[in-house]
């Protein structure tokens, strides 16, 4: 286990190193300068500004300085908000994103599990058809369309929830609904396939032969065994939530990192883009690691690859 963990953490660090290297050099190849109105500045002023941001040094030195900064959690200074450190900017915007992302994930996966297992238990009935239609619709309708429709109908027309802004729990409801759609649909589709598989296996037959009640069979045997593979799709679902949050946060004006990422992209705020890229990768790596460990812990049949060698 320790060996496996060590190996995985080494790969995570390697991944983050490669990602920060690639982003650094991509940003160096970017056309244009960080100066807003170069024509008005004298050469000595330009030199002064370059010196202040360390841009007068050769690229390899800038790269080493940057890497050293990344190790210490220092991503430089934002271009968009002058004199604001990127790490501070990201840190202050992490909370809202984690709240709506986490809520979206939990709501989506739980409802998806219910919908998927209903579809499997009542396979080939109208319940199954409805659950399939709902999941196909939710997986197909783009998050930005869904978010705008939710905002208009539930926010503006019915006035159930605030249209945008960030305050208490009530402000998180609409963004959470918009984000939950994709995990809900994916989980339901996956769960249905898994559960249909499990329901036709021998140990379910045995449980029936023993005379167990339907509820007991589904709850104790079918549900638990179909739950295990669901852990493997948590990683892809996290990516969906990250992608979705970029527009959903924008539409509902949630001060999160997704909204910041889009804003930075539109204003060419390179240090923030680089910082957020690394943060996104780190979050995804950690989620993937946790799901792999969980998978091994929950299902004893799965041997972590480091152990089997």
């Amino acid at each position: 286990m320790v060996k496996y963990l060590g190996k995985r953490i080494f790969y995570i660090i390697l991944t983050l190193f490669i990602v920060s290297t690639i982003t650094f050099f991509l940003m160096k190849f970017m056309p244009g300068t960080p100066l807003t109105n170069q024509a008005k500045l004298t050469p000595s002023q330009i030199h002064q500004i370059y010196k202040q941001y360390g841009l007068d040094k050769p690229v390899w030195q800038q790269y080493l300085v940057y890497l050293a900064g990344v190790v210490h959690g220092n991503f430089g200074v934002s271009f968009q908000f002058s004199n604001q450190a990127v790490s501070y900017l990201i840190g202050s915007r992490m909370g809202p994103s984690l709240i709506i992302g986490g809520q979206g994930m939990i709501v989506g996966v739980l409802l998806g599990l219910v919908l998927g297992s209903l579809g499997a238990v009542k396979a080939n009935t109208w319940i199954d058809t409805t659950s399939t239609i709902v999941s196909i619709l939710l997986v197909s309708i783009p998050s930005f369309v869904l978010a705008v429709l939710l905002q208009y109908y539930l926010g503006l027309k019915l006035r159930w929830f605030p249209i945008a802004d960030w305050g208490g729990f009530i402000y998180t409801v609409l963004p959470t609904m918009a984000l939950a759609a994709s995990p809900l649909a994916e989980t339901a589709r996956f769960m249905r396939t898994e559960m249909v598989d499990v329901l036709s296996s021998d140990y379910i037959e045995l449980a029936k032969a023993k005379g167990l009640g339907k509820v007991g069979i589904i709850y104790h045997h079918a549900l638990r065994n179909s739950l295990i593979p669901i852990i493997t799709i948590i990683g892809p679902l996290t990516v969906n939530i990250m992608t979705g949050s970029m527009v959903v946060e924008n539409i509902f004006s949630v001060p999160g990192i997704g909204e910041q990422f889009v804003k930075s992209v539109l204003t060419n705020d390179y240090p923030t883009i680089m910082g957020l890229t690394i943060v996104y990768c780190a979050m995804l790596c950690v989620v993937l690691l946790i799901t792999d460990i969980l998978y091994g812990l929950i299902d004893p049949r799965i041997r972590l690859s480091g152990q089997s060698n």
Binding site: Y11, I12, L14, T15, I18, V19, T23, L26, F29, M30, P31, I136, L137, V139, S140, I141, P142, F144, V145, V148, Y152, L156, T193, V239, M242, T243, M246, V247, N250, F261, V262, V265, L266, N268, I273, L276, T277, Y280, C281, L284, C285, L288
Partner: protein
């Protein structure tokens, strides 16, 4: 022992005709033998939803790529005098399609107000007076082009990468898998955004970013399947007969991988379409004046409260496109792998 067998003369025999032979042969398989693809196609045809999705996609393809014939106006021509006109279809007098619109509680004829004369716009016009119908057709074409390009890279790169990785095994496989693992731990959208920033927004940047991100899943699935096939007897036989690796992969591996490839292709396509629309929606994809479903939705969303048709139509087309590809993908998975639905 008395031999009382009946004497046999030549007259008791007669030649067996073809008809007799088929009647006698109880082992004969009367149904025509179907190849794997024919069998899957037969199963797919029974799936009503998938067939409807296929027909919808064919219609969208024809409309989008033949848009020169169907376009009623130039999709990029602006006409500020005729801006924000509601849909008007000649001969149909249903509110929403007759060129009238609600203004401060009363229904007025927007075309008469704008002095549009005999002009009509099937799905109305946008804030610059551009024909929404033609722009949606154009945007659909962009989406479908993206779908074709993503499939191309999936096939040309993902399949080859997967086969090579699985077939070679050993150190090559380990290195190739490490590369994939690293690519997997970066959200695709982040890769796309970075590339688009470097390459300047536009169609070519989107194509490059799709080329880099779309093939990974395909490569993983193809590799897993190749590993399974590699140890089977028919491959061993081919190797024993001295076939080259290249020939084995074309003649033996590819046909056996076809179901995995086709199924995964049908899931790459909606993802690629979604990413293009997404990037255009946030403003770094297809740039003005060209239309993409994403930019149309973004434009329409600004006026959604007063001119809802400007967002509804592109949003419906994009959703129908995605739903059709997803349903067809599900249908193909069921028809290639009958176990999955039974």
């Amino acid at each position: 022992m008395a031999d009382n067998a009946k004497p046999i003369s030549t007259g008791d025999f007669k030649p067996v005709t073809a008809a007799d032979r088929s009647h006698l042969d109880s082992e004969k398989i009367s149904a025509p033998s179907l190849t794997f693809l024919q069998d899957s196609w037969r199963r797919l045809r029974k799936n009503k939803a998938a067939m409807i999705a296929l027909i919808v996609l064919i219609i969208l393809f024809i409309l989008a790529f033949g848009s020169g014939f169907f376009e009623t106006h130039n999709p990029n021509a602006t006409n500020p005098n005729l801006a924000n006109l509601p849909p008007k279809i000649p001969g149909i007098d249903i509110n929403g399609f007759n060129g009238t619109i609600m203004q401060s509680g009363t229904r007025v004829n927007a075309y008469a107000q704008a002095h549009a004369g005999n002009a009509y716009y099937l799905l109305g016009t946008d804030y610059l007076g551009r024909d929404l119908f033609s722009r949606i057709l154009y945007g659909t074409r962009i989406s479908l082009e993206i779908a074709l390009i993503a499939s191309f890279f999936d096939l040309a790169f993902g399949v080859v990468y997967g086969i090579v990785s699985g077939w070679m095994g050993g150190r090559v496989d380990t290195i190739m898998q490490r590369i994939i693992e690293i690519m997997l731990s970066i959200p695709n959208l982040v890769v796309m955004v970075l590339l688009i920033l470097v390459l300047k927004p536009g169609m070519s940047a989107i194509i490059y970013s799709i080329a880099i991100t779309s093939w990974i899943n395909m490569a993983r699935l193809v590799r897993a399947q190749t590993l399974e096939l590699k140890n089977q007897e028919f491959i061993l036989a081919a190797r024993a007969l001295g076939e080259s690796s290249l020939k084995i992969s074309f003649k033996h591996l590819l046909p056996n991988l076809s179901s995995v490839i086709i199924i995964n292709l049908m899931f790459t396509i909606p993802t690629a379409i979604f990413f293009e629309a997404f990037l255009s929606y946030i403003g770094i994809g297809i740039s003005a004046p060209q239309a993409s479903l994403g930019t149309l939705i973004n434009d329409g969303q600004k006026n959604f409260q007063f001119l809802p048709y400007q967002m509804w139509y592109p949003a419906i087309v994009l959703s129908v496109l995605m739903i059709a590809f997803n349903i067809l993908g599900d249908g193909l998975r069921d028809s290639f792998d009958p176990k999955s639905r039974e």
